[in-house]
């Protein structure tokens, strides 16, 4: 038998990225030193090497950022012609495309995701979001006929670490298109592409203060949420923090949208194209190391195809390449942080303890950095923690079902309701499942597919409000009373 074929390392060069030793806060169009005086290190999770120091925004800094956003809103942004707003957004989209390699490399360095994904998914989608919402900026009256869409003011936006730049785009593009100004806080562990985006904002000559970026841990986010000058909060992150934000905002009149956790069911019927379903399962849970709120973390397999499907899945896992996120052949990168690695490790241990059967393909984990092998749990009962709790890691729990009704019942039996997947050759079954599944997004014969024109958001503890598409404009607009226009 011939020897295997070792692919030579094919790393993307990191020379394209220039990092400062220390970053301030982006307020009023300038990177300024934090009044808090505090900084903290930001790491490369693949190597644990420090990439830079970033500022911890304190109450005064948040106040300054909100003040800058308010000033920019009052002094022009809310009243310039919508077509002008569109021009800025188109410009940002084009700059993102031009600088996409730089952003992709930095995203992989700071977040640990494979360059293949940051290059082929995160960056193209981020640019596409700006292009898409740029198109709406001067057509809001047509988007909401017989309403009077008006901007609402200053939006406070808090984003997670799993898709740092893409989530920034999801937040900033519709907010600006609708005529608002923003204060955005990137996640504690992944601030660098947001700070590089500050450079894009300057390059696009956006008026100072329209976009402000403050870095820091949860304290900075909490300050932003409770700041009186903020008219709307948009949060993407954990259900726990989302609930705290909702409590904080109750009675304040601030608008709120939450995009929280998920525990999506990926349902495979026995007539599905099996090899392609396996690809969908892999893409559903191992994409971005499973750090995806809509990840297909619960696989529901029709019992009649359980054995061949699981055999195919396990074999496919042996071909996944785990390692250097900057290597162009890497499929599975680094876990985003020590904290997240600990959480995954704890839940996986709980799964084994509860009696589920664990499978991990043989793979060498690098010594430095945060890593977790792709994992499949079989013999999982609905009551196990790994079937109930969001793991947010490369860990799949497999359950079986016998009939479509049972599949629906099990799929909906969760506190979450963000996404679901259905695999079948039968079109009528896709439609009937889509009606019965309680999830904001339902994919048929595909998974984790995103498009700026398509609304995204959840039911139940997965949050409320939609991002993307026409629906994604609503949270950033006051639609006023309906009016009847006529002669």
């Amino acid at each position: 038998m011939p020897a295997g074929w070792e692919y030579a390392p094919a790393p993307e060069s990191r020379d394209i990225v220039t990092l400062e030793e220390r970053y301030g806060l982006f307020i009023g169009g300038e990177l300024v030193d934090p009044r808090s005086g505090e900084y903290f290190p930001t790491l490369n999770p693949g190597t644990e090497e420090q990439l830079a120091e970033v500022a911890q925004a304190g109450p005064q800094d948040v106040d300054a950022a909100v003040g800058a956003a308010r000033g920019a809103y009052d002094n022009g942004w809310s009243s310039i012609s919508p077509a002008e707003r569109a021009k800025y957004l188109f410009r940002i989209a084009r700059i993102l495309q031009e600088r996409s390699r730089e952003f992709a490399v930095l995203e992989s360095m700071n977040g640990g995701k494979p360059i293949r994904e940051s290059r082929d998914v995160d960056l193209p989608l981020a640019a596409a979001h700006f292009f898409y919402y740029a198109g709406w900026a001067d057509k809001l009256e047509y988007a909401f006929p017989n309403r009077r869409p008006r901007s609402i003011g200053v939006a406070g936006q808090i984003i997670p670490w799993n898709f740092p730049l893409l989530m920034l785009a999801w937040k900033i593009a519709p907010a600006l298109a609708a005529g608002n100004t923003v204060v955005l806080k990137p996640a504690e562990t992944t601030p660098l592409t947001a700070l590089l985006f500050a450079d894009v904002v300057r390059q696009a000559e956006l008026p100072p203060g329209v976009v402000n970026i403050i870095t820091g841990d949860g304290r900075a986010g909490a300050e932003l949420v409770k700041h009186e000058g903020v008219d709307k909060i948009a949060f993407t992150g954990s259900t726990e923090v989302g609930k705290a934000i909702q409590r904080e905002l109750a009675g304040t009149g601030k608008k709120l949208t939450l995009e929280l956790g998920g525990k999506a069911a990926n349902i495979v019927f026995d007539d599905a194209a099996l090899d392609q379903a396996v690809e969908g399962i892999v893409n559903g849970i191992y994409f971005n190391q499973g750090h995806v709120c809509c990840a297909g973390s619960r696989l529901l397999v029709q019992e009649s195809i359980y054995e061949p499907l699981i055999a195919k899945l396990k074999r496919r896992l042996t071909t996944l390449r785990l390692g250097d996120p900057l290597d162009k052949n890497t499929d599975i990168g680094a876990i985003n942080s020590k904290q997240q690695l600990d959480k995954i490790t704890e839940l996986v241990a709980a799964g084994e303890e509860e009696g589920a059967e664990i499978y991990q393909p043989p793979c060498r984990l690098p010594e430095k950095g945060y890593w977790f092998a792709p994992t499949v749990f079989t013999n999982v009962a609905q009551s196990y923690r790994i079937a109930q709790e969001e793991i947010f890691g490369p860990v799949l729990s497999v359950l079986t079902f016998r009939t479509p009704d049972e599949a629906v019942e099990k799929a909906n039996n969760t506190a979450y309701g963000l996404s679901a997947g259905v695999w079948t050759e039968k079109g009528s079954r896709i439609l009937s499942m889509a009606q019965k599944l309680q999830a904001g997004v339902i994919w048929a014969n595909t998974f984790n597919r995103f498009d700026p024109t398509s609304p995204f958001g959840g039911f139940k503890e997965s949050g409320f409000g939609r991002e993307g598409g026409l629906h994604g404009l609503e949270p950033y607009l006051d639609l006023g009373e309906s009016e009847v226009r006529g002669g």
Partner: protein, 312 residues
């Protein structure tokens, strides 16, 4: 979905209870997977490994009305020693010719490792009576062909007469004797990936040693997704029966980069066991010189003019 025909003993379709149907292929997803595999970045030693393998797996082909013994002589020399300037470059696997040229080919490759493959069964259309096809196969084997590349009867397949297609392959296989049988599906005439999968399983069940995409006589011959569909069918047959069937994409593979993409797809679908000319061939007429040029470039760090590689 139509069921496979009743089978004579000795041959099995993957019809075990757990895979009760032929199964289907999702077009969008299979094309996406093939595109994603094609983005692997193969460099340095890994690339040299692939290029060397590509030469060893090549079926150097000439299938023209104007083929002559002289042309075959040139092709055979090239097959045996592809790069006279670099003796470390291996011979190709086989030369693939029309029946009339088999004697010339056999004569010219004698004493080398290069095999002679002959197309047969009213190639390329397959539109002839079965007994004539079988007789043709018998004859090319008698003339010394080591391998027979037959075409399936697409007319029968597309009109749902699967048993006719199946029986014909069984008879041809029998006529082959010791010669290896490659069954050409002519995928661009089959229209859907579902049909390609069905034809693949049918051919393997009927006794194919290899399944092959195309005659090379039509546009839109081998593609990465269609080859992936066939590799997945081969994998299913191996899972079910333990039998290893070979694969031959043919037609439209002209550049080294493509050859490497095909090999990556093979490696990541069927594993290291299939990385051998016994189980994988690349059917091509113009690919070889590009591969030679890339090998020279990897070894010397410089590209050389095409004039330094023989045109045969």
């Amino acid at each position: 979905m139509a069921k496979a025909p009743a089978l004579p003993t000795g041959f099995e379709l993957p019809l075990e209870p757990r895979l009760p149907r032929i199964g289907s292929v999702d077009q969008v997803a299979v094309e996406e997977r093939a595109a994603s595999l094609a983005r692997r970045s193969i460099k340095k030693d890994a690339k040299i490994f692939a290029l060397d393998l590509a030469v060893r797996m090549m079926d150097l082909t000439t299938l023209e009305g104007q083929d002559t013994p002289g042309k075959i002589a040139a092709l055979a020399s090239k097959a045996i020693r592809p790069d006279p300037a670099d003796t470390s470059v291996p011979s190709v696997a086989a030369i693939c010719v029309y029946p009339n040229l088999v004697p010339a080919a056999v004569e010219r490759v004698r004493g080398s490792s290069v095999k002679v493959a002959s197309v047969a069964t009213a190639f390329p259309s397959g539109q002839a009576p079965t007994h004539l096809k079988v007789a043709e196969v018998r004859e090319v084997v008698e003339m010394g062909a080591d391998e027979v590349d037959m075409v399936i009867d697409r007319g029968a397949f597309l009109s749902g007469r699967y048993a006719k297609v199946y029986d014909e392959i069984v008879q041809v296989k029998e006529a082959c004797g010791e010669a290896h049988l490659k069954v050409i599906l002519e995928v661009s005439e089959l229209g859907t990936y579902d049909n390609v999968r069905r034809a693949s399983l049918l051919s393997m069940a009927a006794g194919a040693d290899f399944i092959k995409t195309s005659t090379g006589k039509l546009p839109g011959a081998a593609t990465l997704p269609v080859t992936l569909v066939m590799l997945e069918a081969i994998r299913d047959v191996h899972d079910e029966t333990g039998r290893k069937v070979g694969m031959k994409p043919a037609g439209g593979i002209r550049q080294s980069k493509q050859a490497v993409q095909y090999l990556v797809q093979l490696y990541e679908t069927l594993g290291a066991e299939w990385l051998t000319p016994d189980l994988y061939r690349l059917g091509a007429s113009t690919l070889l010189n590009d591969v030679l040029m890339q090998i020279r470039k990897e070894k010397t760090g410089r590209y050389q003019s095409p004039d330094y590689f023989t045109v045969d």
